[in-house]
Each structure stands twice: as C-alpha cells, then as structure tokens.
C-alpha cells in the first residue's frame, strides 16, 4: 500500500517535471552554441604540424615533404586570411580590421585559383548573428533562427553596417547590395 502511494507520488512528480517545459512560451529550436564546436575538420595548420613531424621521423621523403608543404601552406594561408575575412564581418571595430595585412601581402583574386577565390568571396559576404552564430544562408538579412537583424559589412571598405535596411555605407558612402 505504501509502495503504491510512493509510486504514485513519484510518478506525478515526474509528470510535472516532464510537462513543465510545455507551459513555457513556444520557442523555436535554435543552436545555442556556447560550448566548443563538437568537431573540427582537420585544419591545414594541424596537417602542417603532422607533416613536419612525419618528415622528422623520416616517413616523408624530401620530395613528398616539399609537395605537401606547398599545398598545405597555401591552404593555411587561405585559412588565415579567410579568418580575417570573417573578422571583418564580425568585428565591432572596423577601422582596425581593415586592410593592413592585405596591403602588405596583396591578396588579389587573380593570385589564387578560382575555387578558393569563390570561397573567400562567400566568406566575406556571409553574415553572422550575434546570438546564434554564423548563418548558413547566403546573404541573409535577418537571422533564420532568432529573427534578429544581421549586421553586414560594406563590400568596398569593410565597415560594419548595423542599421536595418541601409542603402548606403555610412563610412565610405558607396551603394550597398540589396
């Protein structure tokens, strides 16, 4: 008899615990990305480190090493610069993030292969939501997850565009794409 009562009480308590979230406001499922991302595909820098080590242990011949080093150094540089491309879009201090490094080592579209240039272009226009992180859609105006307005970057000078529906860049005055 006691067991029945205890069981019933526990079951009701569990039921309340389980059903409670349903009384919250209906919220969309969204990516709460506060932890570290689960898994990174291997970065070119890690690959380069491994290549160095494999050479040091004699596993890579000099020819293979040179070929791999060239390929992965390129990828690593692209990785670095695309990282900066991201930071242009995400940075809150645009005047700092602009071009000193590109002026230094001219990052001209012609000097890389078309595919990589396309990746870089894509990364440059990709938007990121302050709350939910980068958006997967090309060129969104609002966050597809929480609906917040997404800050953009001026294609000409790289300044952050933070007013919704801006038609012109507040920094350099050039016309913005829709």
């Amino acid at each position: 008899m006691i067991a029945l009562v205890v069981g019933a009480v526990l079951a009701v308590a569990a039921l309340i615990y389980v059903l409670l979230p349903l009384f919250d406001a209906v919220t969309p499922l969204r990516a709460r990305l506060t932890g570290t991302p689960a898994a990174a595909p291997e970065s070119a820098i890690d690959a380069l480190r491994e290549i160095e080590f494999d050479r040091a242990t004699g596993k890579l011949s000099d020819d293979d090493y040179a070929a791999l080093k060239a390929t992965y150094t390129r990828s690593a540089l692209v990785e670095l610069r695309s990282r900066r491309g991201d930071s242009v879009a995400e940075s809150t201090a645009p005047e700092q993030a602009v071009t000193p490094s590109t002026a230094d080592a001219p990052f001209v579209a012609g000097s890389v292969d078309p595919a990589e240039a396309a990746i870089l272009r894509y990364r440059a226009i990709r938007r990121s939501c302050d709350v939910c992180g980068p958006r997967p859609e090309p060129d969104p105006a609002f966050c597809s997850s929480c609906g917040k307005y997404l800050k953009g970057a001026c294609a000409t000078c790289g300044a952050v565009i933070d007013a919704p529906a801006s038609r012109f860049c507040a920094n350099c005055g050039s016309t913005l794409a829709a």
Partner: protein, 192 residues
C-alpha cells in the same frame, strides 16, 4: 540519389519476393524435421573388429570428439561439451566413441559411422565438396573482392586528385615574411 518513392518500391518488391519464398519453404518444411522429436540420440554401435586393438590414443580419441558436434543445444563439440558443461548427450556420444575405439576403428571410420547415423550435421565443419565450397570460400571471396574494390577506389581517387591538380593552376600565394613567420610559429608550437 535514391528518391523516397524508389526506395519504397524496391523495398516492396523485396518483401513480396521474400514472402513468396517463405510461403513456398513453409509447405516443404513439415516432414523432415521429425528426427529432432523426442530425444534425438541415435546409438552408433559397430561390432568390434576381429582381433581388435585400439588404434587411437585417448588424445587422438578426443581429437575425434572435437570433430563431432553435440546434438544438444549447446553448439559445442562433444569433447568441449562433456568436459565443460555436460548435457544429456555428450556423455552418451562419448561412450559410443569409446566403444568404437575399443572395437579397433580408425578416426575416419568413426566419423563416417556417426555421419551415417546423424547426417552431415554431426560433423563440426561441412565436407569440402559441392555446395559447401560456397561456405568455405565466401569469406575469402569477400575479402578479395573488398580488397579489389578498395584498390579500384583508391586508384579512382588518385586519378581524380591528379586531374584536379592539373586543372588548378599552382600559382603560389604571395605571403609576407611576417605571415610566414607566424605560420611557422603556429606549426612549431608544441601544444596540439
């Protein structure tokens, strides 16, 4: 790319085929299973040979028992069954084997006698003949085929990669000394 519709159609076809097969199998399967009714033990006795002398040592006799499967549900051979978790069968089969050994029969003769009584099922592994070759060779065929497929796959990947390397003009990226220095530092950094 398999569409949802194609998946369902294929699956449906397979289900129908299996169902008809099963229905056909059901009709024929009634009669021959009768031997497993009741006990299932079949005595294997042979009159001792004239002037019989044991031809097998106890260890060789055990080797014979390792080639015989115990008819109980243990899935073990007679020797392993009777020495580990004895059931109602393995001691009786053991007794039969001992009598045959005492009767002067050789290992092959004993195995043949048991096979005659119980069928091929009593042997721990099927004879290497006829359809059984499928059983013996399929694993090797599978590994061989898998290795061949893997080889072909690697070759295709290698070719595609080579084509891509040809297509992409290998123009080196210009990098400032500073960039290179920092890249180098990142690579040399010990912490993974």
């Amino acid at each position: 790319m398999v569409t949802r519709r194609r998946f369902v159609i294929t699956l449906g076809g397979a289900v129908v085929a299996v169902a008809t097969q099963a229905a056909r199998g059901q009709q024929g399967a009634e009669t021959p299973g009768a031997t497993m009714e009741g006990d299932g033990y079949i005595p294997v006795r042979r009159p001792p040979r004239a002037g019989a002398a044991k031809r097998l040592t106890p260890l060789e006799r055990d080797a014979v028992e390792r080639m015989l499967s115990c008819p109980c549900p243990c899935t073990l051979d007679v020797f392993t069954c009777r020495t580990s978790m004895p059931c109602g069968f393995s001691p009786r089969l053991h007794a039969d084997v001992v009598k045959l050994v005492d009767g002067g029969y050789s290992a092959d003769e004993i195995l043949a006698a048991f096979e005659q009584a119980y069928g091929e099922k009593i042997l721990m592994a099927p004879h290497k003949q006829g359809f059984n070759w499928v059983g013996w060779l399929a694993p090797f065929a599978a590994v061989g085929g898998g290795a061949f497929a893997a080889g072909a796959l690697i070759r295709r990947w290698g070719r595609r990669a080579a084509e891509r390397r040809m297509a992409a003009s290998p123009v080196p990226i210009e990098a400032s000394d500073d960039e290179m220095a920092r890249l180098e530092a990142a690579i040399r950094s010990d912490d993974p």
